[in-house]
Subunit: 343 residues, 2 copies
């Protein structure tokens, strides 16, 4: 049985939607047990609305809540008994195997970094995410934890994205690229030029730079970037198909023949919406910390919460963290030791 602490108070629609998603995960996945963390009254009130299979969900108290707009570090300092801090503490004490939160991303990153510390050999954690493309799922990393990574940190993100793509998306030997403003080695910032050299000389399947236009096409399996551009691009991805469908629908309504056409296309459009829906992607792991932490979108639906909990379990069962440690250690040129020396 894999035990997952769920931050019951985190997210724009917590606790209602989080509890609904947790119940759905508990009932659907036999190998998962949920520890729902938060204000007991609120959680129990929500739990009473659902049927839960025997013993699959237990509640654990946490008196305080970090708001979506709170300053992460200040909130963690002031609210020692917040649901996210309690979740991470349970993970640290090994009372659970993983944490899932849809709350304040900054607070989740800060709590994990401060309380769990890094995996051996890792300098800074980053957030990885599976994004739908024209040819299946690609992994993008970092998408918001580290706005100014060094070249060495980017290379470590490449290692972690490689492991994540292999374990969770079953890619055999993931192709890896840097997101840049041109394909040539000479393009981009000094940090990117240095990361290019380090990746080229690494045993990873590095294929060079890709430009923004290839983010959606699935040209590569792993896209490595800083947390700023990753976050901007990710949020574009989330809206872009909806926006495109919006433009298309508006145009189709302009005459009766294309309106009929649109009506005939509707089931196919709904299938696409489902296929490229971020609810199905199942959250984004914070990789590089000493524990399994999955961050889900603040506006996550119950289905998105359920899937993020499922992926948390998959990360534990496929031993992503052990593989990251092994891979980093097996590449002397990429491990902390050499990089520390270089800096």
């Amino acid at each position: 049985m894999i035990r997952i602490a769920v931050d019951g108070m985190g997210g724009d629609y917590a606790p209602e939607v989080v509890v609904e998603g947790a119940v759905s995960a508990a009932n659907d996945f036999a190998h998962l047990e949920i520890i729902l963390v938060g204000q007991l009254d609120a959680l129990k009130r929500e739990l009473n609305k659902h049927k839960v299979l025997g013993g699959k969900i237990i509640v654990h108290p946490a008196a305080e809540v970090v708001g979506m707009g709170d300053s992460p570090v200040a909130a963690l300092r002031k609210k020692k008994d917040s649901s996210i801090a309690v979740c991470i503490d349970l993970l640290k004490k090994k009372e659970v195997d993983a944490v899932m939160t849809a709350g304040n991303t900054g607070a989740a990153v800060a709590a994990s970094a401060l309380m769990l510390g890094p995996l051996p050999g890792i300098k800074r954690p980053g957030i990885a995410i599976g994004t739908p493309t024209l040819h299946g799922i690609s992994v993008a990393m970092d998408v918001g934890a580290n706005l100014n990574p060094s070249a060495e940190e980017l290379v470590q993100y490449a290692v972690m994205a490689d492991v994540y793509a292999r374990c969770i998306f079953k890619k055999k030997r993931p192709s890896i690229a840097l997101l840049n403003i041109g394909e040539e080695e000479s393009k981009g910032t000094e940090v990117l030029k240095e990361a290019y050299k380090l990746l080229r000389d690494s045993p990873l399947n590095f294929v060079g730079n890709i430009e923004g236009r290839d983010f959606f096409t699935g040209k590569v399996d792993c896209i490595i970037c800083d947390g700023f551009v990753g976050n901007v691009v990710l949020k574009m991805c989330e809206s872009v198909l909806e926006t495109s469908i919006g433009i298309i629908s508006r145009e189709l309504r302009k005459n009766p023949i294309s309106m009929l056409g649109a009506w005939l296309c509707k089931p196919a459009m709904n299938a696409i919406r489902k296929e490229t829906n971020y609810e199905e992607a199942g959250g984004a792991p914070l990789l590089g910390v000493n524990g399994t932490v999955i961050i889900s979108h603040g506006i996550s639906s119950a289905r998105a919460i359920r899937n993020a909990i499922r992926v948390s379990g998959d990360i534990v069962s496929t031993q992503v963290n052990d593989q990251i440690i092994e891979t980093i250690a097996s590449i002397p040129a990429l491990s902390n030791q050499r990089l520390e020396g270089k800096k």
Copy 2:
């Protein structure tokens, strides 16, 4: 008559496609005169394929060509008689009113910055572009000239984007936002936090931060960002509708009813392709240099070249540069003097 120097040798399909676009602009726009710069034999050979209205195109010699993959500064140093250097030199000597190139962007930016110098009060030039959104055109700046702008440079980009949106896209009082990873003032890098404060205290119509998801929605008229994220996002925009249509078409082909639907929708889809086509956007001006320089995509079609030449003329006739100088000078807090003192 507005005289525009066209870099006849710049671009992936030069000189063929560039000459075709130049001829089309010369014939279609009575107020424009084209000075086609490059290797005379090649240009004349291409010109002979077309009919040109009397005296609307003259050719001007330049023996060398800066390749798309050349290192910009090295190429300018070695190839003194390159078509882009000769174009900018004609502009400097006021023998033309504007320059249009589809060649090596870095070389165009470097030649303009070095040979023309900045507009009074401007610290660094940036590239602005009109991008199609769900609600008309928005201006994004910078999209590739300055990968690490300071807060002050971002604010100057806001001023220039404001002028460009007013002059070319006829926006009355353009709304302006910073592209960031969250809407709160506290989000993003230190540079963005500082730029937020400067913009909030400026007379511009600053509406705060927007996230990646609002890039396409037309929520604001001007989107201000560094050249790295701007370039990545711009290239995503260029591909995104095509990719979405690709995903949609694949899904529609899965059954005969939706195939019929797709066939009925085809004219509407083609209308969208046209509406959101970058060929219509007409190139991207390098703003902040002492002269009018428009950069067009390396893969520009003849139609895109024609439209970029048209916009070059519009920038001259609406006196964009004079308005930038005036606006910068009218806002003491934004002008070079104070900013120099602050740094």
